[in-house]
């Protein structure tokens, strides 16, 4: 039997551990396994950079009747006045930073603890693992058993908080059917952009795994709860597309904000349908 390749050094771990098949390569995959985590990391990084810039910019987020989803609800006194919009000055005038920071913590926490995004950034940023059957570079692994990652278990609370935020963004879309003077019966390209965005946000929010559990997944007797069983089935159908909805709603938020920014900063006028 051929010998000489058995890893016996103390540092040998994982697939190189003693007792396992003596193969020096840390993985033998021949496909482009690195592509998916790379694309994930690049796309998330682009969004993080863009959203950080916009969140701190504190300007060009409102152009009647459109408000950027990053700035609604607007909870500080330094908000741009919104005609009937969700500019509720709960935090008063002491808040001197961008009002977006007061609100973004909720959708940020919701997405940060989301079961899909966890998979995405564990793979894309932390290489834990980078891909299936590709050895991760870390010497130790405790997963979500201790701080800080045990805090991922608060996901359902962010789901609860995401509901009113989505409700307020829905209110913003309703207001987008008014024109600059506040008269109903208006629709522009911005209305369509915000409408598509809120549809995707609701679909993503309701497809959440915590929602699926709360709505019916926790039950042991579906037969005793036919309405919840039916709802669980619907949420389950959405849940099967959770990754798709996570990405599409993330992109739609960015596009909706960018659209409002371009209109508010005067780059172009909102095309009006009626």
């Amino acid at each position: 039997m051929a010998t000489g390749t058995t890893p016996t050094t103390p540092a040998a771990r994982g697939v190189l551990a003693p007792g396992r098949a003596a193969i020096s390569a840390r993985h033998l995959r021949t496909d482009r396994w690195w592509l998916s985590p790379l694309v994930t990391a690049v796309a998330l990084t682009i969004f993080i950079i863009y959203a950080t810039w916009r969140a701190f910019a504190n300007g060009d987020y409102y152009s009647t009747p459109y408000v950027s989803p990053l700035y609604s609800p607007c909870l500080a006194s330094n908000c741009t006045p919104m005609n009937g919009g969700a500019d509720w000055h709960l935090f008063g005038s002491w808040w001197g930073l961008s009002p977006a920071l007061l609100v973004l913590v909720f959708p940020l926490g919701f997405r940060l603890t989301c079961y899909y995004y966890r998979k995405a950034y564990y793979r894309g940023f932390w290489a834990s693992p980078p891909a299936c059957a590709v050895a991760e570079p870390h010497a130790k692994y405790t997963g979500e058993t201790r701080l800080p990652l045990i805090m991922q278990n608060v996901h359902r609370y962010f789901f609860y908080l995401a509901l009113p935020v989505a409700g307020i963004l829905t209110y913003d879309v309703v207001l987008a059917f008014r024109d600059e003077s506040g008269a109903w019966g208006h629709a522009g390209l911005g209305t369509l952009v915000l409408l598509l965005n809120i549809a995707l946000i609701w679909a993503y929010t309701l497809s959440c795994h915590s929602c699926r559990h709360i709505i019916g997944g926790k039950l042991r007797h579906f037969s005793a709860h036919p309405v919840r069983y039916r709802l669980w089935g619907w949420v389950g159908a959405l849940n099967g597309r959770h990754m798709l909805l996570a990405w599409s709603s993330l992109i739609s938020v960015g596009v909706a904000d960018l659209y409002v920014y371009l209109v508010a900063s005067g780059v172009f006028d909102d095309p009006r349908f009626f």
């Binding site: 697939v15 396992r20 098949a21 130790k140 692994y141 997963g143 042991r220 007797h221």
Partner: protein
């Protein structure tokens, strides 16, 4: 159509081993296991391989083909280019015995650690009655053929031998989920809260839901979405959600 394929097959045992090169005939419609059998018949009579049904139902011929955990009997040769080298190794998360055969007793140890179904009191055997909607979730998990590809690919134990003591692995966390969702399981009456036990005794918290178990499952069981995440949510009910805890104390719900 017949062509000659280049295979690399790991040969060795606990003392060591290496990848050996073989040129072997491949015919239309064949799977990797057919080629391994042809190698046994023509070039490597002492090649050790575990197999049985050749139909993807016994879970015996688990191996890694081009670095991916797969059933050899369900991996068609047509997925490879004719000039592509096909590398076959044993499962790399478990101790090797010889050639493509590994010692999977880790999984049997973990299976024994999961408390069995607890029959409900006052219902004699043979009198269990359950509605289809109440059991269909668990039935998905019953499709498991125990090939242990999910256990092999899970980085928690594949990349960290030291976690094997604490972590049951996706297959057996799925078993706990199956029992926790079972409409007649009476474990809670005996003080066993399966979801909390999954967290405390079987290492559910190690799972970071990166879905490799789901990706490799030859039965296409949605292990992560339908078993592990629901089990995490149930554990959260018991351990981290004061609202649910309070509700269960007040109403003594059995749901």
């Amino acid at each position: 159509m017949t062509h000659t394929a280049h295979f690399k097959v790991w040969r060795g045992d606990t003392d060591g081993g290496d990848l050996r090169d073989y040129e072997v005939e491949v015919n239309d419609g064949e799977v990797v296991l057919d080629i391994i059998h042809r190698l046994q018949a023509t070039q490597a009579a002492d090649l050790a391989v575990r197999w049985n049904c050749k139909a993807g139902k016994c879970g015996s011929c688990s191996a890694e083909v081009n670095g991916r955990p797969r059933l050899m009997c369900m991996t068609r040769m047509s997925v490879f280019e004719p000039d592509e080298t096909v590398t076959v190794t044993p499962l790399r998360a478990f101790p090797v015995i010889r050639d493509l055969v590994t010692d999977v007793s880790f999984n049997y140890d973990k299976a024994r650690q999961v408390p069995a179904f607890v029959p409900p009191k006052g219902v004699p055997a043979g009198e269990y009655r359950m509605q289809q909607v109440d059991v269909e979730r668990s039935q998905e998990f019953r499709k498991c053929i125990e090939c242990f590809l999910c256990q092999d690919t899970c980085h928690v134990v594949r990349d960290h031998e030291e976690n094997k003591a604490a972590f049951a692995g996706p297959r057996f966390l799925m078993r706990i989920a199956e029992l926790d969702m079972h409409p007649l399981d009476a474990a809670a009456d005996q003080g066993l809260v399966r979801a909390a036990s999954a967290q405390e005794d079987h290492g559910l918290g190690y799972c970071n839901i990166t879905k490799c178990c789901t990706e490799v499952c030859p039965e296409h069981i949605q292990i992560t979405d339908n078993a592990l995440i629901p089990l995490k949510e149930r554990a959260i009910d018991r351990k981290y959600d004061p609202l649910v805890w309070l509700g269960s104390r007040i109403r003594r719900r059995k749901e």
